[in-house]
Symmetry: C2
Subunit: 412 residues, 2 copies
């Protein structure tokens, strides 16, 4: 975590995360990039733990992403090891060897297969990872794992973040209450010298790998895939969901569509959305949290693309930074998305105030209340493109001098 | 033209544009948005003039773009009228009426059909255009047209630009020398309160509409479609090429592939590239001019997409602004483009210095000469993605505090 001031959009405090049966975790300072900084996090899972994940679509993935993709195929997990300060991306054969060495050292400690160790890294791209600093300290870290170190684990995975990110939910399955804990890091998709998006979820529910996968994908689409800071996709983005099955015993679940999972699905989405929004709230230089809701699109996918195009438009983002009710830029961005949109039915609302209707500013449009809304910290934009029923919501932040400071003037 | 300082990347002076036989032009202050600012430009063409054009792909085009699309179908032109200060975009039926009134008033003066008048507008989006200010002054402007007023015409179409943009070339067709003049406005694709990309080319060669179209499209792809400032596509982008056929008489040309057009094709591309690069050099807040050459891609289109993804990455652009030799961001952007790229063969050069080879930093990589190059005004990035023979060059500028100043802090 760098010494930039805490984001003005940060939540008041880190929530209290309860233990999740079957999970022990902890963190230490391995000196991967900086001395004395907590940069190594480990979680150990009891036998029988399943895992599902989604990984970056970037065509230049790091060695840890390649490793996770391979292990997610079998869907079993006994440990998770996360390093911050070095992304181990674009590091060639040495990068692959670093991942293998980490997995081997961890498997030795736990007494499991190498392939049951999931690995993630975040930080600088293109520098060799000093893996011996990690393997040297792992036995000591393993000896200290507890079921309570959630905040310490959340701290260990941060890089340019200005606050630690955690969330917790419970849900009933079959009348039994299970827990979902999540931790994340990231200032958006931002992948500068030091950053990437990582999120890890842990539940004590008993869910087969196939069910986990089917639960994770749509929830990820509506949470982490619905945020953007600057549209730059990291080479390390990783979301993993672990299920230990060590919580209160509930009936056997065999499909994600099982009606008994209704509350769990909702709680998982809620927990993931919470952390996704926390990442936006820690977007580099962010001064405002922006929700963009698109309705009336040709499909959900079309609504998402339009929303993301508005959210990624530098002109929309700078207008929001300047509290400038410049809705012409929203029109431009909707048109640029390339999706079907009816210019002559386009309706825009900002902060609930109607701005345009039927392809024109509303008669007697009064900008004053719109500007007042835009001077706040939480901005709401709603766009109806008048074509069909597709809808989606995207979250982003504004583009400010702070972003330029961090990424142009600051040299790590 | 706003009162921001002249771009540090501006050319030393506006070139001397010679007359183009068959073209008379001029400009005046109509008071469209600001009093006393030259904001109306008119060109009149002799009978027989042909025209081809390319127009914005934005789905929210302005009324003038819709009008041009219709008239370009027949490809004849007797006049061009350009207004700055108001884009006449998202203005509903009133916007259509403003275009019709302008065309009718111009056609009356010239004694031609309304459909032979091409119209473009640039400026604020969503405000009604006070068209009577234009139609009132048109007769006076028409009376003053000359064959020399190129600089005045170039001035009249500017908005947030910091310098007027013109270029001229000659080429032989059949041993006869013809002229190509071009004027343009724009600070990139930037479409804030007041901006858009317009470019107009005029030649005295005698070329049928179909030939003009076939000449314009590929040249546009390699010039104006190869630049970006912030990836935001204007609702008014318009490039028009007029041919009067009133220059030295050359043999009849019936196809764009005619070998006698070889020099003309090259001169047109050169003239268009010159103006396209001038637009980048006037990019909002631009401090550096950046050339990105992509080779080894699956196709030309793939190379273009990779180049544009690198050029539009806020992280690459801010690294350039900060003279930060952060090549990991280039790797990230190449991977994010979604095109085929071989991570383990990726080769990057900056300012001619080899940075990566075979998916790794080069052995003994010395950052010092790369940083020295990046401290200059002209930055060269070359990326070989190691897949096939597709190649393209894209031009852009850096992303600086100046951009935020203009678009967030400045309220027009």
């Amino acid at each position: 975590m760098v010494d930039t001031p805490r984001s003005p959009l940060a939540p008041a405090r880190f929530p209290t995360l309860p233990p999740v049966a079957g999970v022990r975790l902890g963190s230490m300072a391995a000196g991967i990039r900086y001395r004395g900084r907590t940069d190594l996090m480990m979680a150990a899972f009891e036998r029988g733990t399943t895992v599902a994940g989604v990984l970056t679509q970037n065509r230049m993935p790091g060695a840890p992403v390649d490793w996770c993709r391979r292990q997610l195929a079998h869907g079993r997990a006994r440990a998770l090891v996360v390093k911050s300060g070095n992304a181990n991306v674009f590091t060639g054969r040495a990068g692959v060897a670093a991942v293998e060495a980490t997995a081997a050292a961890t498997a030795d400690l736990i007494g499991c297969k190498k392939g049951d160790v999931l690995i993630a890294s975040t930080g600088v791209i293109g520098e060799p990872l000093p893996v011996e600093r990690v393997t040297r300290i792992l036995p000591k870290l393993y000896g200290r794992l507890t079921d309570k170190a959630w905040r310490k684990a959340a701290d260990a995975i941060l890089t340019t973040d200005t606050f630690a990110k955690g969330a917790t939910r419970t849900a009933e399955i079959d009348g039994k209450t299970v827990t979902i804990n999540g931790i994340a890091k990231g200032s958006g998709m931002i992948a500068p010298d030091m950053a990437t998006m990582l999120a890890f979820f842990f539940t004590d529910a008993k869910l087969p790998t196939a069910v986990l996968r089917d639960l994770l994908k749509p929830a990820n689409e509506r949470s982490f895939n619905s945020i953007t800071v600057d549209g730059d996709t990291s080479t390390s983005d990783t979301v993993l969901l672990f299920a230990t099955g060590k919580g209160p015993r509930h009936g056997k679940v065999e499909t994600a569509g099982d009606p008994r999972l209704k509350a769990f699905r909702a709680a998982l989405l809620d927990c993931m959305t919470d952390l996704a929004q926390q990442i936006v709230r820690d977007g580099e230089g962010a001064g405002k949290f922006v929700s963009i809701t698109v309705t009336g699109a040709a499909s959900t996918a079309a609504a998402r693309r339009i929303g993301l195009t508005v959210a990624n438009s530098p002109l929309v983002k700078t207008a929001i930074a300047g509290a400038d009710a410049n809705w012409g830029r929203i029109v431009m961005a909707v048109g640029k998305a390339g999706e079907r949109a009816d210019r002559d039915r386009l309706a825009i609302r900002i902060g609930g105030h109607e701005v345009t209707r039927d392809g024109l500013a509303v008669p007697g449009y009064d900008e004053a209340p719109v500007v007042r809304h835009m001077q706040g910290r939480e901005i709401e934009i709603a766009v109806d493109v008048g074509v069909a029923g597709g809808a989606a919501t995207i979250w982003t932040c504004d583009l400010t001098h702070g972003y330029i400071d961090i990424n142009a003037d600051y040299r790590s």
